[in-house]
Symmetry: C2
Subunit: 429 residues, 2 copies
Amino acid sequence: MKKPFKEMSREELLQEKSVLEAKYEEYKSRGLQLDMSRGKPSKAQLDLSNGMMDVLNSDSDMRCVTGVDCRNYGVMDGIPEARHLLAEMSEVPEKNILIYGNSSLNVMFDTVARAMSMGVCGHTPWGLQGKVKFLCPVPGYDRHFGITEFFGIEMINVPLYTTGPDMDMVEELVSSDPMIKGIWCVPKYSNPTGISYSDETVRRFAHLKPAAPDFRIFWDNAYSIHHLYDDDQDVILELLTECEKAGNEDLVYKFISTSKVSFPGSGIAAMAASEANLADARKAMFYQTIGHDKLNQLRHVRFFKDMDGIRAHMKKHADILRPKFEAVLDTLDRELGGLEIGSWVRPKGGYFIAFDSLEGCAKKIVAKAKEAGVTMTGAGATFPYGKDPKDSNIRIAPSFPTPEELALAAEIFVLSVKLVSIDKILESR
Amino acid sequence: MKKPFKEMSREELLQEKSVLEAKYEEYKSRGLQLDMSRGKPSKAQLDLSNGMMDVLNSDSDMRCVTGVDCRNYGVMDGIPEARHLLAEMSEVPEKNILIYGNSSLNVMFDTVARAMSMGVCGHTPWGLQGKVKFLCPVPGYDRHFGITEFFGIEMINVPLYTTGPDMDMVEELVSSDPMIKGIWCVPKYSNPTGISYSDETVRRFAHLKPAAPDFRIFWDNAYSIHHLYDDDQDVILELLTECEKAGNEDLVYKFISTSKVSFPGSGIAAMAASEANLADARKAMFYQTIGHDKLNQLRHVRFFKDMDGIRAHMKKHADILRPKFEAVLDTLDRELGGLEIGSWVRPKGGYFIAFDSLEGCAKKIVAKAKEAGVTMTGAGATFPYGKDPKDSNIRIAPSFPTPEELALAAEIFVLSVKLVSIDKILESR
C-alpha cells in the first residue's frame, strides 16, 4: 500500500514532484493528440453494425408487418415491429411505446419544449407559470443540463450517491415545491459515475407525491443494455411498472435509443410512458411531423431481428469496450490507489468513468492533461451551468481512442492528477 | 360550348339531374374505394428511388468529403456534400443552408416553436408578446395552418390569386400591425391551387417593411423542382437574393426537402436563410440534437450525385404524374367546361389541383363523392381552422391512385359536382 500524499513531508513531495515532472515533460515532448472527452463509439464498434447497410436493398420488400409501404408517408407511432423491439428494450408493453427519430436527446428537448409552451396533459404551460425548476442529480449529463438551461429552467443540484440521487432531498423538495417540474435521471450505468440506482431508490421515485401535478421524472435509460461483463451486470427495477403499482403511472417519461447500439445519429429513439402521457405527446407530434424515418426503423428490425439479436450485438460492443475501461481503471488503481488524492467507481457498464479529485483541482488537472495533448471533458461540465462547486469532478470517456492511445492518455492523466495534487497539498500547508 | 347550368330551365335541370343520378347510382353500386385525399407519391414513384438502398453497403467508405465518419456523432450543419446539393436545390450559397432531419414540416414546427419560446434573433419570445398573428394566403396547406393553430397563433386569411397573395393587403397589414409575425407561403406550384408567385409578388415580399422586427416570411418551397412538363415550367425569383438586394436579408426562412424527390419520411430537409437567422437556429439546434442522420445524407448525395441527377430523377416523377394530372384536368374540362359551376387552374407542377365550386357546395360535393367511394381532402381543410368562408374550395390530390382508379374517381367527382350544383341552383330560384 502506498503512502498517502497528505502524509508525506514537504521534502518527500518535492522529490516525488520532480520525478513526475520529468515524466510529464517527456510525454509532453511527444506532441500527442489524444481525446477522452466524449462518449463516442470507436471505429471498431461502428464496424459491428455495418451489416445494417445490407439488409435493405433495391429488391427488398419494404413493407412493414401490417403491409404499409415504409417508403411512403404515415404510421406516426412507428412501425409495429420497431415498437415491439423497442418496447422489449424498454421493458414496457407495446402500448406504452412511441418511436421517434434519430436521437433521444431530441425527444427530451421536444418534451421539455412542449411542456414549456403547451403544458403537460392539459395543465398550464410551464412557460406561463413563472420560474419553473428541475432537480439535477450531480454529477450528471451535460446535455440534460443544457436543455433545461436553454429554456431558462432553474436547476437545483442533488447529490448522486452509489445508490442513486439523495432521495430524502428529492422527496422533500418535490413534495413541497410546486415549481419543481422535473428531475433528470440516468438510472443505469449513470453518466458520468457509472452507478445504477438501487431498488429502494427506484421504488421511492415511484412513490413520489409531487406538489406539482405536472411534475415528471425524465428517466434517460441511455445505457440500459450497455454492460461490460457477461456475468456481472447491474439490474434496475423497471420504473413505469413500479409507478403503476404505486398508482402513479403518469409520473415518468422514459427515453431510450439505439444510438450506441447501431450508429450514433442514425439510430432510432423512443419514449415509453403511460397511455395518457403518450396521448399528450401524440397531440404535438401530429402537428410536428408527418412521420419519422420508417425505412430506418425497418433496417434496425431486420438487422437485429429481436432482443436476443440485440443482446448478442451488445456483447460484441462489450468485448471492445471492456479492455479500454480496464486499461483506464487499472492505471487509476495502480498509480493512484492509496494516495488519497482522488476517488472513482468501477462501473460495470455505460460509457464513462468519473474521477473525483481533491477539491479545487479538477480544472487544473484537465488543463494539465490538455497541455500534454490529452483532451478531457471540460471540468464542471457534469454540473448545471458548468459549475462544479467543489471543482473536483472529471469525466473520463474511454470509448473512442484505441487501447494503445488510451494507455498513454491514462498515464498522462494520472501524472496530471499527481502533479496538481502535490501543488494543492503544498499550498495548503 | 355547353349551356351553363344557371341558364337552364327547372325542367332541363331536373332532366339532367335524373340522367346524372342514374350514372351516380351505377358507380355507387360498385362499392369503390378510391383516395384522392393526400399528396402521397405512388408506388411507381417510390420505386424510382429504390436504387438509393444500394449505394451504401457494408463495404462502403462511409466518410464524407472532409473525412468524418458519417456513422458517428457530429457535423451538426450537415455533411458538406449534402449542404452543397441542397444549397443548389434551394438556389442559395452554401453558407446559407442548414441540413436538418427527415421532414421540412418538422423544421417549420421547430422554427415556430423556437420563436414562441425563445424569440427570433434576440427579440422577446412571441409567446410572451400577447396574441401574435400569422397571415395565411388561402386556400393553403392544412399542415401549415395546423402548426400556427397548435401554438395558439391567430390566423388572418389573405386571398391567393394566380400571381400570389393579395400583396396590397399583405403590405398594409405587415407594415401596420407589430403583432403580425409571419406569413405562410408555398410560392411555387402552390398547395393547393398550383399557381406560382409572379416576379412582382416576390419583389414586393422582399421589400416588405414589417412593423415587427421579428416578422419572418415562412417560404415553403416544397415543389421547387416538381415540374410536370419539360418545356413549360414556372420559374420564380429567388427570394433570399431579392431580400439581400432590398437590404432585408433577415426577412425570410426558406424550407425545402427531398420528401417528394426520394422517399417521403426518409428524405432530408433543410432551411435556407441569412447567416444571422442560421446562427439563431443553430443556437437551439446545439441543445436539441447531437446531429441529424448523416448516413441518410450520404445516401442521398451518392445516389443523386448532383443537381443534374436530381433533375433527371424529377423527370421520371413527372412522367408518372403528368398523365394523372391530365386525366383529372381533362375530365374537369370535358365534363364541367362551360357549365359555370366551378373553376380551376391547370397547374404545371406540384401535387394538387384546386377546384372552386359554387358557394356553399364544397362540403356537400365531398360528402357526395365519399358516398360513392371517393375520399377527398375534407372541404375546409385548405383554410385556417378548417373554415372555408365560402364553402367552395376542394383540394384534389391525383398522385397516389393508379391512372385507372383516377379516371373513375374523376368521373365520380364531376358527377358529384354536377348533382350538388343542380340542387343549389334549384334551391336558389
